[in-house]
Symmetry: C2
Subunit: 131 residues, 2 copies
DNA sequence: ATGCGTGCAAACGATTTGCAGAGAA
DNA sequence: TTCTCTGCAAATCGTTTGCACGCAT
């Protein structure tokens, strides 16, 4: 597996990736767009969406859907993992399920062939709980 | 806790609930609406949405979100449980996680207070895999 | 008679896309 | 120059909501 074609280097591409990297947790395209705007970076919302989707497709970003909104998060390693997400500030930590193999067997027991699974835990992080 | 007010009895309410009950698995409001229409039952899409949301709110239906679309499923007992969903036909079976308590501890270890969690496994059921 | 539940259509909010122009290679 | 990437605005799509009317109670 090789690092896919990077395409052309553009300011917006850079700015968007940096903004996403700096975030502690998940952000929506709109939030990221507002943040950039507030920071003085003028980028079209469409570009933000396109860029975010590209990152997700490339496995460089994780996504979760909350309340019909897609949230993105920079994610270095492409390993499959799950998150512990703060519902208030969006921060997130990785969480390790006891085992993923039981999923296969549990599904197989009912005749299913597993293609994918989602597992996300939501709550309040220490800071937000204190506030 | 008491069985909340049922409200008025109407044809559409009945028809929608029946249609949902007859389904093997998850359905979208739109799919259900089309099905009713095809069956000769004329119900407004808005009513389908309102009814489905009411059922979900009352804990009589489970919901999952797939690709930005909300899917509903009749669900007798209000106990918290997870699903094994067929991506092709929408059929679903219940699945039992090894334990839910580890979630609490895993989260607590990182200072989080858990409020909710989603866990869904997608795949192909025996029939669809064969086809 | 009273007012909840419905249907229709307009409103919505998030995301996508067509198209012409800008800038990277 | 060439062709990808961007920006804007219009278009989608699923879902929600305002409003007037019909029907269950």
């Amino acid at each position: 597996m090789e690092t896919a074609t990077e395409g052309r280097r553009t300011v917006q591409k850079t700015v968007i990736r940096q903004a996403l990297d700096q975030r502690e947790g998940f952000v929506s395209a709109q939030q990221l767009h507002s943040a950039l705007e507030a920071a003085g970076d003028r980028v079209g919302i469409a570009t933000v969406y396109r860029q975010l989707n590209a990152l997700a497709a490339a496995g460089l970003a994780d996504t979760i859907t909350v309340d019909g909104e897609i949230l993105y998060k920079a994610c270095g390693d492409r390993t499959h993992h799950h998150h512990l997400v703060c519902e208030r500030c969006g921060r997130s930590d990785q969480i390790d399920p006891p085992s993923e193999s039981w999923i296969q067997s549990a599904a197989a027991a009912r005749g299913y062939t597993v293609t994918r699974h989602v597992f996300e835990v939501f709550g309040l992080c220490a800071d937000c709980a204190a506030a």
